[in-house]
Symmetry: C2
Subunit: 280 residues, 2 copies
């Protein structure tokens, strides 16, 4: 039977007892409103550990003052069903007060990596992510934690944090899960109007076209970025960024000699969407 | 037999095995050049755990560019002897490259508390402390960690960090150990000239006089601070700060209704000394 735990104290005590009993804990951190992308993470976590913990916390600290915290989609009943079906043992479901009680003052910050790409448009966002993930790791004490590659920058930053702070957790990244027409799955897709939903296909189409060009021998990052840019702009989306970056440093790559990643963010109406593909 | 471990990997694996075997780990983090203050921490740690780990790392990240990193006193042979005599099981003794390899980018920061008192004079210092202690906790995986009250602000900040990030480590603070004439023990006392060593007594004398006045009924923080200020200035020391602060928030206290702490920093020649006493 799946169990819902709402307090830090109970979760930490439970995890501590499980570890002492020799159990291997796998964590999938989520903000809920689960889709097939999350399910693929839960499935991988099931293979990685004896005990599968899914956290469900819409983390206020990673939303900017003008962002969508209040309207972020929530459906706890549905999430519970999906999580249980995927074999989740524990849902850790704290409220904001439990995670950030009154005199809270501590942040975990990964410099440089947090301030480029999405971090440029969303100042403070990744600091919110690294801080809450550091907390979740201390509360849930997992041996391994599974994240999706859609939030590629997030994954790179968390790997950096874990290495830098010697956090004893293995980070696993899992491939993006896409809709049949190519759109990367995201809880935020639910915001899209019918028209914008259609236009949004241009993001993954643009990335695919850039990847095709790469496979045909194009190695100039400008040309590859131009392909994506053209596709999303002709569909009527507004580009936030299109970059070809190193998979560890997130710095721009101009000569594609080893695997790089083409990453993009674009607005369909007011909805900000992100996607990426490995160039290899 | 005491063992010296120099790598993160070996230390983490060792601690993990000890925990799995049911051992309780007590940590005393130090920068070496041990004195009786450190020994009192080691003695307490010996009571608190089955396995006593002392870390010895002069942490570059907590020194400012104009501070005394290069000349900070070091004597590993002597420290080893003292630690072994105090029953230390493991000395964790990494070098700077082991703790901060090339692409290091992560910091742990406790806002407000880190920027006042000593943090005002030593910008970045406490960020260096919280970051290295977060790392040491992840590497050594202690159940409990023991710190001295001489660095009172450090103790308060670390307690805040541990609470905020849900770090599963119990923090214990131990009373200041003093020389027979009252000077708080510190590795930096070794820098003092004979004359400055004599003048430095005025710091603990001033604090004692303020505490006496408090016991006689003085509740006005200004009067108490004035007593310390007069003592250290007449001895020829230069005041950095003298404050009466709340023991959790470190905010100035003007009406002494519950326990507060009188804290000070002063320069004897070029040597910066700190000390404090509880007003209760």
């Amino acid at each position: 039977m799946m169990k819902v735990i709402k307090t830090v104290h109970e979760m930490q005590a439970f995890s501590h007892a499980q570890r002492t009993g020799g159990k291997r804990i796998a964590l999938v951190p989520t903000m809920g409103y689960l889709h097939d992308g999350h399910i693929s993470l839960l499935n991988e976590a099931k293979k990685q550990g004896d005990l599968l913990v899914m956290s469900l916390f819409v983390n206020p600290m990673q939303f900017g003052p003008k962002e969508d915290l209040a309207k972020y989609p929530r459906d706890f009943a549905r999430d519970t069903m999906i999580a249980e079906r995927a074999g989740t043992d524990i849902i850790f479901y704290p409220d904001a007060q439990e995670m950030y009680p009154g005199p809270f003052k501590t942040t975990v910050y990964v410099s440089d990596l947090s301030d480029i790409l999405c971090g440029k448009t969303r100042p403070g966002h990744f600091q919110g992510v690294t801080t809450v993930v550091a907390k979740l790791f201390n509360v849930i004490l997992p041996h391994t934690a599974i994240f999706g590659e859609k939030d590629f920058q997030q994954l790179v930053i968390l790997r950096r944090m874990v290495k830098d702070l010697n956090v004893p957790v293995e980070i696993i990244g899992m491939p993006i899960i896409r809709e049949p027409d190519g759109l990367a799955m995201s809880s935020r897709n639910t915001y899209l109007s019918v028209d914008d939903r259609h236009r949004a296909i241009s993001i993954s189409k643009g990335l695919s076209n850039a990847l095709d060009a790469f496979h045909k021998g194009v190695r100039d990052d400008k040309k590859l970025r131009e392909i994506v840019r053209n596709d999303i702009q002709s569909a009527g989306l507004r580009e936030d960024y299109v970059e070809v970056v190193d998979e560890t440093t997130l710095q721009p790559v101009h000569e594609l000699s080893h695997t790089a990643r083409i990453v993009t963010a674009a607005y369909a109406g007011n909805v900000r969407l992100i996607d990426n593909m490995a160039l290899k």
